[in-house]
Amino acid sequence: MKKSAFSLHVDLESFMPASAEDKEYMVQMRPSSTFFKDGIKRLRRNKVAIVSFYIVLFITLASIVLPMLWPYSYESMLGVVPGKPVDASYNNLSPFKYGSTELRKIEAGEKVFPHVFGTDSSGRDYFIRVVYGARISLSVGFFASIIVLVIGLTIGAISGYFGGKVDLILMRIVDIIYSLPDMLMIILLASVLRVSLGPAIENTIFAKLGSNVISLFIVFGALYWVSMSRLIRGQILNLREQEYVLAARASGARGPRIITKHLLPNCMSVIIISTALQIPSAIFTESYLSFLGLGVNAPMPSLGSLASEALNGLTTYPYRLVIPAIVISLIVLSLNLFGDGLRDAFDPKLRT
């Protein structure tokens, strides 16, 4: 019983003994959840990240599937038919307009697939060129970040785990690469490599890719692993001092086991996140290199080279610049937002 209204004494009468059912409920344990399940659950709740993910997925699938279904190819000039003079009516078509022979077909009652974005100055279907450009940009971004990941992870893990002199030498190399001006190095490397690589890769499977794409990969591999390796090294240095690593060593574990079982799983989130954020930056670099004419070999389009070509007729055909620009922005923005979502979901400590 409370003696006064203001008494802080606990009123025992307001308590009830727990029924058997209540007790049962309290001891029930929720099913165990793994780190990744938790992360995915948090990621699902982030609407922005999910929408971005679907946009990226949509663009990726479209760039894989559409070229197979589309009746036009990215390199065929529609006005050029062997044995006949060039039909200039196909050049610079506006969206949903047709060339002279196509108009005749339509009059004869045949169906002609429309040129959704028109054609470019050489009479090539612009829509499929944009799709192809997205395909090139995405695959460059994806493979470049995998190269960066593999090199950065290996060097970072070695540097962090062994420490001492190994670490000192590797990190000085990183410092040197860091201190070179990126842009200049990329442009120099790309222009040197495209000349020297050309003859070297002739008659190999790489020839189809073109020397410029290969040189892009080399540029990424050579320059962009540094920040990744620093990141991994920092993580490993930090984790190496954790007591569970000491515990593993005390029970007899050796280097490979410690790295694969204890160190890498614990920096997985950082690895995934920084790889995801590496993709848009690689796409961006590819785009501006292509814009400067150092990217993919013509006639293969990339979003950057499409934008660069569009500059010539900018006043008459502004949409030819706007379309690839929008696609680049959409890809880079959604990848960045998705990467941020991943970071928030898997590594809440990194959130700023």
Binding site: F35, A247, A248, A250, S251, G252, R257, K261, H262, N266
Partner: protein
């Protein structure tokens, strides 16, 4: 404990120096453990006490070969541990329990994988079934439910985590366990449970402990003998009750006088010996006896040489120049 029992662990003149960068291209030696010798008999518990930063943990970790000793020898079961193959042999018989139950368990591994790791490393089972049975029996031994096996460490409380750490240490059926402040991160009620568990396990499995702690009462409860450390050196070694009742070294006396007594009447009568000043940095350790800067009985001789650890009574060794004058 009979005197005829042989020494399981013998540590002779163990030194562990770390080099610390004090400036650009300059480094200095931090003498974390400086010339420490002790031995532990089979089935015995040696308590190691001292204040923070005096090198207790370094002794434990160097003993477990987690740090490479700068000098000195470690003899286990009559055999000196020197080569890598000695070390891996030693690790099948010795284990360590860490202080921090939070950072000593890998957050990406389930409890059964954490406990099973030493078994995996030493390939101590024939098949999956046997591995599982051994893990479950270990969990039962330390008081964990079998349904905890597939959970992750972050789902447990501090006391439960420490039990997981203990189960991991016991997985390989060790003879010798280094307990590196295993209870200092737990609150008092849990401390008691865990310490009693250590006691029971010792009886069940015939274990030998090196029990490191800074809490004298905990150490006295569990230890047969106690060694007191100050600034990387041992200052006094004796039986647990002996050192508690009759401390000889001035540092031990002050340490014992600081133990809180749960009776206010007695506590009021007890005079605390309050030391002035702080523990000196091990980077600039004083010459001679490390304790002389704070010792109320310090004399000239204390600055000149380090007193050796010698027997003042049977089984009671003290390192002090002015032992006779003090007592």
């Amino acid at each position: 404990m009979t005197d005829t029992a042989k020494n399981l662990v013998e540590v002779k003149n163990l030194k562990k120096y770390f080099s610390i960068n004090t400036g650009f291209f300059k480094s200095k030696q931090l003498k974390a453990v400086d010339d420490v010798s002790f031995s532990i008999k089979k089935g015995e518990t040696l308590g190691l006490v001292g204040e923070s930063g005096c090198g207790k943990t370094t002794v434990g970790r160097t003993l477990m070969q987690l740090y490479k000793p700068t000098a000195g020898s470690i003899v286990y079961d009559g055999k000196q541990i020197k080569t890598p193959s000695d070390i891996s042999e030693f690790r099948k018989k010795a284990a360590i329990v860490f202080q921090d139950p939070y950072s000593s368990l890998n957050p990406r591994m389930t409890v059964s994988d954490i406990i099973g790791e030493p078994l995996d490393i030493h390939k101590a089972y024939e098949n999956k079934q046997e591995r599982r049975e051994r893990i479950l029996s270990l969990m039962q031994k330390v008081g964990l439910n079998s349904e905890h096996a597939s959970r992750y460490a972050h789902e447990f409380s501090g006391g439960q985590r420490q039990r997981i750490g203990i189960a991991r240490a016991l997985a390989i059926r060790p003879e010798f366990v280094v307990c590196d402040e295993p209870v200092s991160a737990l609150d008092v009620s849990i401390q008691a449970q865990v310490i009693n568990m250590f006691d029971e396990l010792q009886n069940d499995m015939d274990l030998t402990y090196l029990f490191i702690a800074h809490d004298i009462l905990v150490v006295r409860h569990i230890s047969d003998r106690i060694a007191v450390m100050y600034l990387g050196k041992l200052v006094e070694v004796a039986d647990a009750d002996e050192i508690y009742e009759h401390p000889l070294h001035p540092y031990t006396r002050s340490l014992m006088s600081s133990v809180p007594y749960p009776d206010p009447k007695i506590a009021r009568e007890n005079k605390r010996i309050v030391l002035s000043g702080d523990i000196p940095s091990p980077l600039n350790a004083p010459s001679g006896c490390p304790f002389r800067t704070r010792c109320p009985h310090a004399a000239e001789i204390c600055a000149q040489s380090m007193p050796s650890l010698s027997e003042a009574a049977t089984g009671h060794a003290v390192a002090c120049h002015r032992l006779k004058e003090i007592s």
